[in-house]
Each structure stands twice: as structure tokens, then as C-alpha cells.
Amino acid sequence: MIKLTGITKSFGRNQVLKGIDLHVNKGEVVVILGPSGSGKTTLLRCINYLERPSDGQIVIGDSIVDCKRAGKQDILQLRRKSAMVFQQYNLFKHKTALENVMEGLVIVQKRPKEEARERSVQVLEKVGLGSKLDAYPSELSGGQQQRVGIARALALEPEVILFDEPTSALDPELVGEVLEVIRKIAKEGITMIVVTHEMGFARDVSNHVVFMDGGVIVEEGTPQEIFSSPKEERTKQFLKRITPEWSYTI
């Protein structure tokens, strides 16, 4: 379970998050939507402290962190209970696909090498890369790299996986294979928070949709509620802008 309470974040004088409350149950897939600059990335990065929130409280599982008083150990705890899939993949470029996945298991979780290897191979097979274990990131396509990124997160068995626009750096023809993998692991009951502009995906896969604008949550609800009967004017406008006409006619 993840619970955010009153998260705020300012960069200098620019307050980017203005008090975010969010509750995510175990096994839930939450999609965050919102226009560019609304603070979606910043919110995700605050959850694992890649950005230090100015104020608020973060709870992941049994770790409770008060942002004003967070120490090194608190931050490490949050990071070890979460994992992140980046827009730019950020695979360790001097390590093979297998080594990328093993790294966290061996170095952070201190698991024996053999066990870590077995688990990593298993996860890479799950994302369809069983034949690319020894490939370096530079030898993989964007879609393959992102699937390694997902495997790296998944292998750690975190309480939550954070996805920041996992497909928006990909060529259109590679988006499908990555979404397919995310769909598959969503079905296995992994808790996920996903920032995405893929509306079809958001509609099919999520249990809960959050619409952000200007650093606040404007509206949230089931995909049905948000996509079919949004209440707030800003949500309606956003959906109208982002959803191509033809998708209504299908």
C-alpha cells in the first residue's frame, strides 16, 4: 500500500506540487494523466526521493517517512521498496541485460549470485528477452531496452513500480511490445503507478485514474468515471484535446 499525504515540492519560488494526497492499494494500477508541466514526473520522482519533497508524508508498506525530517536511512528504505521505469530507459550501459537485472539483487538485496542469476533469467524470459541475456544496451532496440528496464524493476519485487511515460521515447511500432509487457505484469497483481499519454492503455489496464493539472489532483476515479463522465471542466478539456476524434467512433 502507498499513501501520500500533503506532498508539496518547490523549485526555488516555483511551487510545482501543491499538496498531493494519493492512496494506492496493493495490486492496484493507478494511471496519472495531465498536461505537460502539471507535475506528474515530479510527483513520481518524489515518491522514491529522486526529488526531495518540500513537505508531506510518504508511506510505502511499513515505511513511514516524514519529508521534513527524512534521513539517509529513510530515503534508502523508500527506494528499496519501490522501483522505477524511466522514459529514457537508463539501463546501466556498461552492463549486459542480465547484469542490469542482477545488479540490484546482488548489490542491494545481497542475494547469492546463483539465485540472483536464476531469478534474473526468469524475469527476462517473462518480458520476452530470454535470447538477449548477454546483449549490451547499445545492442538492443528501444523497445527491448525498455523491457530490460521493466525486468530490472520487476526482479526486485518492490511494493510498487513507478513508470514515467515508459513508451514516449519509443518509435511508434515499438510501443505495442512494451505496453503488452506492462499489461501482463499488471494482471499479476503488481502495484503500479503509471504516468502515460496512452489513453487506450490507461482505460484497459488501470483500476484508478488520476488527473493532475497545475500541481494538484483535479479529479480522480475509476477509468469509467474519468473517461466517460468527467466532472471537472479541466478534465473534459484535456481529454478532448488528447483523444483523437476517431477513437470515439470505433
Partner: protein, 236 residues
Amino acid sequence: MKLDVSFLLDVFPLLLSALPTTLLITAVSVSVGFVIGVVIASIRIYRVPYLYPIAVSYVTFIRGTPMLTHLFLIYFGLPLLVDGLASFAGLSFRAASIPLIWFAFISFSIMAGAYMSEVVRSGLLAVNRGQTEAAYAIGMNTWQALRRIVFPQAFATSLPILSNSVIGMLHGSTLAFTVSVVDINAKAQIVATTNWKFFEAYIAAAIIFWGLTIAIERITGHIEKRINRYNRGGVA
């Protein structure tokens, strides 16, 4: 004047007897310098309070003064310091008992540290921020992220320039003769004083240095190829 080829050939084994000294000075100053360089570069990049200005002054001072001057500063300054400290602490140790080669080790290491810190720093800066973030995101602490992710990539990027530093130190080690350490070059001079065939002796020295330089280039080229295996693909 005629070149005495047979003397030239005879001189090689004599000069090679000083090879260990040359290699030792180079190896010590490069290794100690590398460690200093990594520490200084990290202090500067992470802007460690209090140490940061010291690191910056160190680098600008060393890079702003000649290598020979450092050697003399250490040669004349260190004994004063050591003797002062020893008598203050009531020890009978005197600087006169420090082997001369140590002055070369110390001053060249300090110098190599300053130059190499710049090389290491540019290597560290070349590592993409996303690499560190990914390391933190999987739960690594700062030290783990540096050791496992940042340093290896920085090292791979810096290797060609580091190889230049090693070559620079090899050639620079000849200055040690000014504090009476007999390296290959000094040996050439000593050997030649008996018959005044300086030219032959220095040709031999030059050939040895040239060979060593080529060897260094080969070795680092080989290491480079091995650790840069990950860069060979086409897509970024």
C-alpha cells in the same frame, strides 16, 4: 664525428639496469596520483564543504607551477618539516635518512594527482545523470552507485587521456636525476662521461623510452578495447 655503433649496442644493457628505477617512479606516481585524482575530482564534483576550496587551490597551484619546481620544493622543504616535527616529537629520526627516490615519489605523485584529477573529473562529468538516478532507484547508496556504476563508466571514458598521463609521467620521471636519482636518462649521462660518447648514450636512452611508450600505448589500447566492449553497438 662518427657514430660508434658498437658502443651504442654495448650501452643498452647498462641503461637497462636503471629501467626498474624509471618504471618504479612512473608506477608509483601514476598509481598514487590516480588515487589522489579520484578523491580530488569527487570532492570537486560533489562540492564537499571545507575540502572543496582546498581541492581547487591544490589543482590550480600544481598546474600553475613547473614539475621541476615541485621537486625542489619537496627536496628542500620536506626535510625542514620532517626534522622540525621529529625534534618536536622528541624522535631521533632525521630527514637525511630518507632515500632520495622518495622525494621523487612524493613530488611526482602530488603533481600527477592534480593533473589526473582533471582527467577523472571530465570522465565523471561525462557519465549521464540518468545512470546515477537508475542506481539510486534500485536502492543503491551513494558509495555503491559510485563504485558499481559511475566510476567504471568514467574510467572507460578517461582511459585514452589517462594513458597520456602515464606517458607524461614516464618522460617526466627523468627529472629525478636533479635530486641524484639514477634513472635511464641519468644512467646514459654517467655511462658517457667515461668516453664522451654522449650522443650514442642518449640515442640508446631515447630508443628505450620510445619502446616503453609504445608498450604503454599497446597495453592501454588493449584494456580500452576490452572495457569499451559495451559501446560497440549502433543504437544509443
